[in-house]
Every structure is written in C-alpha cells, then in structure tokens.
C-alpha cells in the first residue's frame, strides 16, 4: 500500500489499482514473452528442418532463386540497427537523452531500410509468379514449392515482427522525448531493445537457412 496508490484512488481513477514499480519483474515478464516468440518461430524452424531433411536437393536448387546480395545486405542492416539500439539504451542509462533519441532514430531508419529491401525482394519474386497460391509455384517440384512457402512464411512472420518493433520504437521515441521515459525509468526502452535484438537474432538464423543454402 503506497501513498501514490491513495492518490490514484482519490484522483478518481476508480478501482484501477496502482501498478507497482518493479523493474526486475517487468524484465522477467519481457523475457518470458521473448520465449514465446522464440517458440512461435520454433514451429516454423521445425517444419523447415523436416522438409529439408526430406528433400535437401530441392532446397538447394530453389535457394538459387533467392538474391544472396540482398539477403546479406539486410543482415548487415539489421546487425547495425541492433548496435544503434543498444547504444540508444545505454545513452539513456547514462542520462544522455539527445544521443539516445538520435540512436533510436537511426535504428528506426535502418529498419525502414530493411523493409524497403525486403519489399524489392518479395516483389521481384511475386513478378516471377513465385508466391504461395500461384500456378507457377504449384508447377514447381514439390520440395521447391515447400521451400518457397517456408521462405514467405518465415520472412513474412519476421517482417511482421519488424513492423511491430518499429511501432514500438515510435512510441518509446515519443515517451523519451516527453521525458516519461528517462534515466531513472528506462525500462520500456530497454524492453523494446530486447525485442528488437530478438528480431535480429531470428534473422541471424534465417540468413543461412535461406540465402546461403545453395
């Protein structure tokens, strides 16, 4: 029971209970959430492993269609964005707000860059008729069709995560600027960072599975 709780009640927030400040607890929650994310992708990794073990040759063959340069570029982009992200967090922890904001902006721009490259990659595939549900993909040998389905599912799910990460970045950006996230209360920025590194971590695995397979 705390004074600010009483305050909250008086302020007419009704029976909203105060949320205790417990950074360690929030961090625990965040990591647990990351585990579920990991396992979400885990299902797809499992499918990948099974079908590759069943028809490895088709996977090698199909992977030649993918653009390795773009894949590697995107890896560099994401790794760099992870760096700027972590620098943003530590800047705020040292109390350097403007540097933190700058680094966050850099991260955001890098993730835009990632998505743009991804867009060109996907649309090139799309124009070649390689997309789930098209005639072309159904005409391919079964193993190659599965490879492309996996490619779209896994990079697609990853892409969704990138977008969610960017939205989260935008929100914390506003809060850092307004000061509600600050040197003393930097949890939210840190958790967005953790999330972002996870997105990066998953990409680290996607790179060899898709782009370096041929």
């Amino acid at each position: 029971m705390s004074a600010d709780h009483a305050h909250a009640l008086e302020a007419g927030r009704g029976n909203d209970l105060p949320v205790h400040r417990d950074d360690e607890g929030s961090k625990t929650g965040m990591w647990l959430f990351l585990f579920t994310e990991l396992l979400l992708f885990g299902g797809l990794f499992l499918i990948y492993a099974v079908y590759r073990s069943m028809d490895g040759a088709a996977f090698h063959h199909a992977a030649e269609e993918l653009n390795r340069t773009l894949g590697v570029t995107n890896t560099v982009v994401l790794l760099t964005s992870s760096l700027t992200m972590v620098l943003s967090v530590s800047a705020l922890q040292r109390g350097n707000r403007s540097r933190s904001l700058a680094m966050l902006t850099a991260t955001f721009l890098l993730s835009c860059c990632f998505l743009v490259i991804k867009y060109f990659e996907w649309s090139a595939k799309y124009h070649h008729g390689i997309f789930p549900g098209t005639e072309h993909i159904h005409a391919l040998p079964a193993g190659e069709g599965l490879f492309f389905s996996l490619y779209f599912m896994m990079t697609g799910l990853h892409g969704i995560h990138v977008v969610i990460g960017m939205i989260a970045m935008a929100i914390v950006f506003a809060k850092v600027r307004s000061g509600s996230i600050n040197q003393d209360r930097h949890g939210a920025l840190e958790y967005v960072g953790l999330y972002w590194h996870l997105v990066d971590l998953i990409w680290v695995f996607l790179l060899p599975l898709f782009y370096l397979t041929n």
Partner: protein, 103 residues
C-alpha cells in the same frame, strides 16, 4: 511502501552500463562472422559451407544474447530460464526426428 514483496528495492537498482566501445566491438565481430559464413558458402558450397554456418550462426546468436541483450550480466535465473526454453525447442526437434530419420 510495497509491503507485499521484499525484493522490489533491489529490483529497481541502477543497472550497470557497459561501455559503448564494447558494443561496437561486438558489432564488428558479428559482421566478421557474417562475412565468414557468407564467404564459406560462396567459396566452399556444400559440406564445408554448411559446417561453417552451423558453427558460426550459434556463435553470433550467443554474442547478441550475451551483450546486446545483456544476458551475461543478468541473474543466473534468467540464463537458466532461457536455456530451458531453448532446450525444450531442441527436444521438440530431436524427438520429431526420431520419426523422420527412421522412416
């Protein structure tokens, strides 16, 4: 304050902040490792390329986890929980392959 739990105060302690140079170093390391995998797959496609990827990718993941995600400096409980999650994922894979590899 906070009568219902004792650890709260410890829980909100100032974090220890790692030097930026370390992060940049990790980043360079990650790029080098990426370069290693990519060149292995270009110049030694096939077994060696795959072997390098299999060895290097987890190393990259470990760097991200330990430093960027700060896991190295968290309480051991966090590391343990992480290992549980990854371990169970490995079990899912392993047991499934008792089916697929022995058909």
């Amino acid at each position: 304050m906070n009568h219902s739990h004792s650890m709260t105060h410890g829980g909100n302690a100032r974090p220890h902040v790692l030097p930026d140079g370390l992060f940049v170093g990790i980043w360079v390391g990650l790029l080098l490792l990426t370069a290693a995998t990519v060149s292995a797959s270009v110049f030694f496609p096939g077994k060696i390329g795959i072997l390098v990827a299999v060895l290097v990718t987890p190393a990259k993941a470990a760097l991200i986890l330990m430093y960027f995600m700060h896991l190295k400096y968290e309480k051991p409980a966090f590391v343990a929980m992480f290992l549980v999650a990854v371990g169970i994922l490995a079990i899912f894979m392993g047991l499934t392959f008792f089916d697929y590899l022995h058909r």
